[in-house]
């Protein structure tokens, strides 16, 4: 965990006071709605279909039990008793009242949580691997760098009014769980030939109506230079990014229009011209931030404790363990993913009661720490293996042990037309229907790893382009239709999906998805060949033929 000091706390409180003044001026009419809109967006407040929506940052996906309890409190006190975890390590509350927002922010500030820059045209919450610091084989804990960048990008005096939103993600593991290739800047921590730690820097990734996979702009930027290099990218973007058309304002369009070589050259020139502007991170500066991350005092535990051997006779436990429990870098410990995708439930939602209960379980079994991943699930990052059977029972009672992590019903979905003023179609009911169709866990196991991502409009908050199966809601003559793509992925081999056929009406989506899965099962080489690999091997055509033959 990163421990806020007096300075971090002061800044958050100062931001809350500022926002309180802004809300007051809006309510008194001193600020027009147009003026206030930009100011509230800087603080995570959207106006949605039914009410204000409030988005709170969970930087690099790390929460303490105390912080999670406070989120539960906000859900209960200011909202309708639940929250929605998003694809960018945020939590959203959908029914908040404007006049109460400053109080909600103030309650959160007491535990070091804020909503700064969770929306608006600025640098958004810095995201990272939800297994940071515990994943085996990691270069080093990417949260040290995430926190350095979080601080640097918070209330930045030059880059708080960018052409468009700007998202940074960091990974330090071989397998990219942070989806860095669909970010404005993606950072991959690695070591160069001299053993020095630095970053491969990628730019221009993003989804929305013009999706791009990020391209490498520089294969190695030493860690000490990462802030100045990011500053150079942002300065080029701030000056030359398009501001005439909101749909062409993201950095991906600038990179595309200039070409990656020309863009890289512009950044390189700016970076060289900057000289020493106090952004170089010397060893002491990096260690200062590193020193404020605390790590659990792990015990020396056996690889295979008796408790685990005994529980292996329980098939329900075993199914859950095989699905939701992952290897930890410390022997005797595990990383446990908590599925927020129950059969028939809206993906990523958690009730205040669940949040409180997870906080208690984190205290009991995970050194008080919780993680949030971009797949809209939670994780307990430091669970002793001997505790797994008891943890399973507790999670099962809470409805948080659905053994579907990374399987067909572990669906990513945006709020869609049920909440969002931008949406063209519903997302949540499609996800709910699919979880019912594939409710049989044996079938889901048989299918294997398969990511379905659903967006209710072209803005792609549900990451449909990079779902193994992507579902995009569109509107046709006043009716909800859905375009379906296959073969997308968001990991280190990120790729955009390919359209499989004409859009289908709401009522047929689940049938088509079932047919796609059937086709895959018939076409796969062997049971271990994942859906996305079969699509890669065969292309879209054989699946299209089978699915659309009778349509």
């Amino acid at each position: 965990m990163y421990a806020y000091d007096e300075l971090d706390r002061t800044l958050i409180n100062e931001r809350v006071s500022e926002f309180r003044d802004q809300v007051k001026r809006r309510l008194s009419g001193e600020l027009t709605e147009d003026e206030f809109k930009i100011l509230r967006l800087q603080n995570g407040v959207y106006l949605q279909l039914h009410a204000y929506m409030f988005r709170v940052a969970i930087p690099y996906g790390t929460l303490s039990s105390k912080q999670l309890r406070r989120l539960a409190h906000v859900a209960r006190r200011y909202d309708r008793g639940y929250g929605h975890f998003t694809t960018r390590q945020n939590i959203q509350f959908n029914w908040i009242k404007l006049a109460e927002l400053p109080d909600a922010l103030s309650d959160l500030a007491e535990v070091g949580i804020h909503a700064m820059q969770t929306s608006g045209n600025n640098m958004r919450n810095v995201t990272s691997d939800q297994w940071a610091g515990v994943a085996p084989g990691e270069i080093e804990d990417p949260r040290i760098w995430s926190e350095l960048i979080r601080q640097h990008t918070t209330l930045h005096p030059e880059f708080s009014f960018l052409p468009r939103k700007f998202k940074i993600a960091i990974t330090a593991a071989e397998h990219d769980r942070a989806a860095i290739k669909i970010h404005d800047i993606g950072l991959r921590l690695h070591k160069n030939a001299d053993g020095e730690t630095g970053f491969e820097v990628l730019v221009g990734g993003g989804l929305g109506r013009t999706p791009f996979i990020a391209k490498t702009i520089k294969p190695f930027v030493p860690g000490r230079d990462i802030l100045s290099y990011i500053e150079a990218i942002l300065r080029v973007y701030n000056q030359y990014g398009r501001r005439d058309n909101i749909y062409k304002a993201r950095i991906k369009i600038l990179v595309h229009e200039l070409g990656i070589e020309k863009f890289a050259k512009e950044v390189e020139e700016e970076w060289k011209a900057m000289g020493d502007v106090g952004l170089t991170l010397d060893h002491a500066a990096i260690e200062e931030v590193r020193s404020r991350f605390s790590y659990p005092a792990y015990e020396k535990l056996p690889h295979m404790p008796d408790e685990l051997k005994q529980a292996a006779h329980d098939p329900l436990f075993e199914r859950w363990r095989k699905n939701s429990v992952s290897a930890h870098k410390v022997q005797g410990y595990s990383i446990v993913t908590l599925s927020l995708k129950p059969v028939g439930g809206p993906p990523g939602d958690a009730t205040a009661e669940q949040m409180d209960a997870v906080a208690d379980l984190a205290d009991k079994y995970s050194f008080g720490e919780i993680r949030v991943g971009h797949e809209q699930n939670l994780a307990l990052p430091h669970v002793a293996k001997r505790d797994l059977p008891l943890l399973f029972k507790a999670l099962d009672r809470l409805g948080l042990a659905t053994p579907n992590v990374n399987l067909v019903t572990d669906i990513i979905a945006c709020p869609g037309l049920d909440y969002c003023s931008l949406a063209n179609a519903r997302s949540i009911p499609i996800a709910q229907e699919l979880t019912r169709r594939f409710a049989n866990h044996d079938t889901a196991d048989l299918i294997g790893r398969l990511h379905i991502n659903i967006s209710g409009c072209i803005n792609a908050c549900g990451h449909h382009h990079v779902g193994h199966i992507g579902i995009l809601g569109v509107e046709k003559n006043g009716e909800e239709f859905y375009q379906i793509t296959i073969g997308g992925r968001a990991d280190e081999n990120a790729q955009l999906g390919t359209l499989i056929g004409p859009a289908v009406p709401y009522a047929e989506v689940a049938d088509v998805i079932e047919d796609i899965v059937e086709a895959y099962l018939a076409l796969r080489d062997r049971p271990e060949e994942l859906f996305v690999d079969t699509v890669k091997r065969l292309g879209v055509e054989p699946i299209r033929e089978r699915v659309y033959a009778t349509r």
């Binding site: 300075l7 500022e18 003026e35 030059e158 200062e288 931030v289």
Partner: protein
């Protein structure tokens, strides 16, 4: 529109001269970039200070050779959501060493004062009287800053390291 300088509402010594209008014989004038660049020498020869209003989409390269003879550079925020002039301001101050008046014009609300001051602005044509009145108060909103900029405010990281240093020195 009130002008705020050194924290106070002051009378603007500069007259905005629109393109095509006749220049006053003396006194300080603010002119457009086009007008200035058309004949900089003629403008700089006249009695009275000269300031230039520089658009936010124009490269600073054409302005830089004249910086030491200008009394004011006015940068433009067509709307307050358009942040290009923040980069221009930092470049003028931190890269080109400009130390004359740096003026923010356009849609200027109190909510930008801290950002603008940190980017190097020291004069503000504020849109609303209430915001101009609140300048000093608003500048006190923040006491912690994460980024180093040319304004010299000490960053949080440096404060922490100084603290650590003095703690270890005291042991």
């Amino acid at each position: 529109m009130p002008l705020v300088k050194q924290g106070r509402i002051t009378t603007d010594p500069f007259v905005h001269v629109v393109d095509g209008a006749e220049l006053p014989g003396d006194g300080a004038v603010l002119v457009s970039a086009e007008r200035f660049l058309a004949d900089p020498e003629a403008l700089l020869r006249r009695a009275g200070k000269v300031g230039v209003i520089w658009p936010n989409n124009r490269n600073l390269g054409d302005l830089v050779p004249h910086l030491d003879r200008l009394a004011s550079v006015a940068l433009v925020f067509p709307t307050f959501r358009d942040g290009r002039a923040y980069s221009q301001a930092r470049l003028l101050r931190e890269r080109y060493g400009y130390d004359g008046e740096l003026r923010a014009t356009g849609q200027i609300l109190r909510d930008q004062f801290v950002f603008m001051t940190r980017a190097g602005f020291d004069a503000f044509e504020v849109k609303k009287d209430a915001d101009a009145d609140a300048f000093v108060q608003t500048m006190k909103r923040y006491s912690v800053f994460y980024q180093p900029t040319g304004d010299g405010r000490v960053t949080a990281l440096n404060r922490r390291m100084q603290l650590r240093h003095s703690e270890s020195a005291g042991q």
